[in-house]
Symmetry: C2
Subunit: 214 residues, 2 copies
């Protein structure tokens, strides 16, 4: 599958790119700055030994991807997504975005739309937005091939989009758990705050979550 990763130069985006490239997918790294995207793509080609990793501006990446993954900072959606909307039309778009504020106060505050995923859906009205991949630590993704001890929780309205996410999950060896409609996205995003707090408190880098009884 051709996977565009908006904000793919960040840690989480680059980590996802690494895993998916190693899983046999073609990757388009997107960035505000096309040159930075190309540099990161070259670095990931080097690291993974996989050729089909290229870099483009976010809007071009969205055009080129069959599926589009949003790995942008939460406060960057309103600026970046409108220019990506034509490229995302009709496509499966996966929001991994979580609005965390470090440094005291409340760690997780969802945006006024209810969640970052719903904000993405509002900014990309013709895309099939699902929320997923919030809980897989960048640290876990980065080193490539060891098994990740975490479930892949997904929510969204579109069954086809969830099937696409199932393929993306499978290429990382993750079990997909369907968590219903996109209105549950804030609950998934909030779990990232739980894991970030646990990482800090227990001096970990890679806590994750598994659903039991399933």
């Amino acid at each position: 599958m051709k996977i565009a990763i908006l904000g793919g130069t960040g840690k989480e985006g680059a980590g996802l790119a690494t895993r998916w490239a190693l899983g046999g997918h073609s990757i388009i790294i997107g960035s505000r700055d096309a040159e930075r995207a190309k540099t990161k793509a070259a670095e990931l080609r080097e690291r993974t030994g996989k050729i089909p990793i290229i870099g483009h501006s976010n809007a071009e990446a969205a055009e080129l991807g069959e599926v589009v993954v949003i790995a942008l900072p939460a406060n960057g959606l309103a600026n970046t997504l409108p220019e990506c909307a034509p490229g995302c039309r009709g496509k499966v778009v996966v929001s991994t975005v979580v609005s965390l504020t470090f440094g005291g106060g409340r760690l997780f505050t969802p945006p006024a739309t209810g969640s970052s995923a719903e904000e993405a859906q509002a900014l990309l009205p013709e895309a099939r937005v699902v929320a997923a991949f919030h809980h897989i630590a960048a640290h876990e993704l980065a080193d490539g091939e060891h098994p990740i001890d975490c479930d892949l929780l997904v929510c969204g309205a579109d069954p086809l989009a969830k099937e696409t996410v199932a393929v993306l999950a499978l290429s990382m060896g993750l079990r997909l758990v369907d968590v219903g409609p996109l209105s549950n996205a804030a609950c998934l995003e909030g779990i990232t705050a739980v894991l970030a707090t646990i990482n800090r408190r227990y001096k970990l880098k890679n806590s994750g979550i598994k659903i039991t009884g399933l």
Copy 2:
């Protein structure tokens, strides 16, 4: 420990009472209706074979408990907690409350205070409120003695309160995971919506959550 359970006649409250009674604690079931509390207490004495389970009004239960557990419906806090405030003064108060709305629309919407636990803290300003026990299915609790495959996530400001929760967790054989300050409570409460959705979707009664990498 003497544990008062406000709203202890409900499924979750009665399930917690069952487990803690079997773990050797004394239980005071609280209810708006003291007679209903006494009837439920008699039923639980019968079911568990444990004598120290009594029933009282919520306010009396709060007075009698060394620790107070809130198992009220989310929309009942504003009505019920003010009369319990004198009894809760200085005590560890554990909020298990989650504001779920079934039947379409958004399943989980935290109250304006940020979370039900923070609402409880606002209504009980002299209590040491922590949030915990949101994820242990009533169905799992009810049958008494089999192991529960779920972690016990807790958040709150007071280290002493967390130690008390650790004791309560241990009496059910649960591992406690410290999830930082009370401002993370909405994230824990939201996980209940995730589990409720999974239960419905996969036709389960007892999905739970485990933290990996810990």
